[in-house]
Subunit: 195 residues, 2 copies
Amino acid sequence: MARKQGSHSGITGPKVRDAALRLFARHGFAAVSMRQIAAEVGVQAGALYLYTPDKQTLLFDLMQSHMSALLAAWQAEPTGGDATARLDIFARFHIRFHLDRPDAVFLSGMELRNLEPDNFAQIERLRHTYEDHLHAILAEGQATGSFAIADLRLATMALIAMLTGVNTWYRTDGRLSRDQVAALYADMARRAVTR
Amino acid sequence: MARKQGSHSGITGPKVRDAALRLFARHGFAAVSMRQIAAEVGVQAGALYLYTPDKQTLLFDLMQSHMSALLAAWQAEPTGGDATARLDIFARFHIRFHLDRPDAVFLSGMELRNLEPDNFAQIERLRHTYEDHLHAILAEGQATGSFAIADLRLATMALIAMLTGVNTWYRTDGRLSRDQVAALYADMARRAVTR
DNA sequence: CCTTGAACTGAACGCCCGTTCAGTTACTCT
DNA sequence: AGAGTAACTGAACGGGCGTTCAGTTCAAGG
């Protein structure tokens, strides 16, 4: 047998990425075989190589897409206001964006060590760029007196870790809505750098 | 060939665990083979089975040891003072303990998904027990008016995530000492739940 | 209607996996 | 000196791995 009906490359391509993302996030990159991904898509393993040159590149593309989407989404957020207002926007944005893509977040946080050096460096650069946006907000607040931060770089890392941590416990069917959680985290973030 | 000289089980056993911990943390559980661990120890793969029934149990034992050590170390910390003082002690303890064992922390955070259901449940219970200690401190501070926390459970998770995040960026040769970092994090943690 | 080519199969490549086990060595105990 | 045994080797087991590729199917274009 070969293909069943109609043109599929526009459908199968995304399905491969979706299946790979879900499986990598759930079981880990090394623990998932190309045959498992293929089975999820409904195809033989060999067919995957029409959509990715190899397994490593598949992982890298997923991470790269995630980080690019994160940066693009942040650029689309409103820019006005003082540092306190911008921190609030950043925190809420971060929480919402991350809650919407648990698999991609999990993957991008966990599988960095499975990237080859060149790919790792590229993803790290994107991650650094994102952190710099928060760093700039904190620096401005520090300069204008809104914030009182002993160590800017440490505060940046601390807030990012706190906010990203939401994905380890949040469940859609829990008692708090996405927006409630975002508001509560934004409040804690502001307090952590204020006074 | 067989064993070279003297009795080795008291030496080889720990060496197996050390090598497994380092390799699992570095490359991930699924990506490390028993032959790689054996090579690190200086032994053939078959000999590992004198020290662990299988690879899964080796992972579980490493995680279990880490969590038990964490709980035991916390029990050994001073207990007096009000909620603010105890939060300070907790935060400094958490940072120091985690900075001292980056591999074990990394492993325990990352490889939960590679545990079989029963083993997973046991580790989760230990983790929950640890989180409850922080939860109790926050609850007391909330009751006495030291803290102003909108959601206790969320605040607990947020602080744990913030504090544990130190391991993702801290380097021994960086500009901040272990104790400086602990003090800075403790201060941010206190502010995040105060006023 | 016939050719083209995109989409996919199915089998094969060499390699590494976790685990088992009979056999070998070197130490300890009597 | 001899027996016993803890520690370990080295080979083997069945199976799954990532990747390649010749061949097959089928929709579309001329």
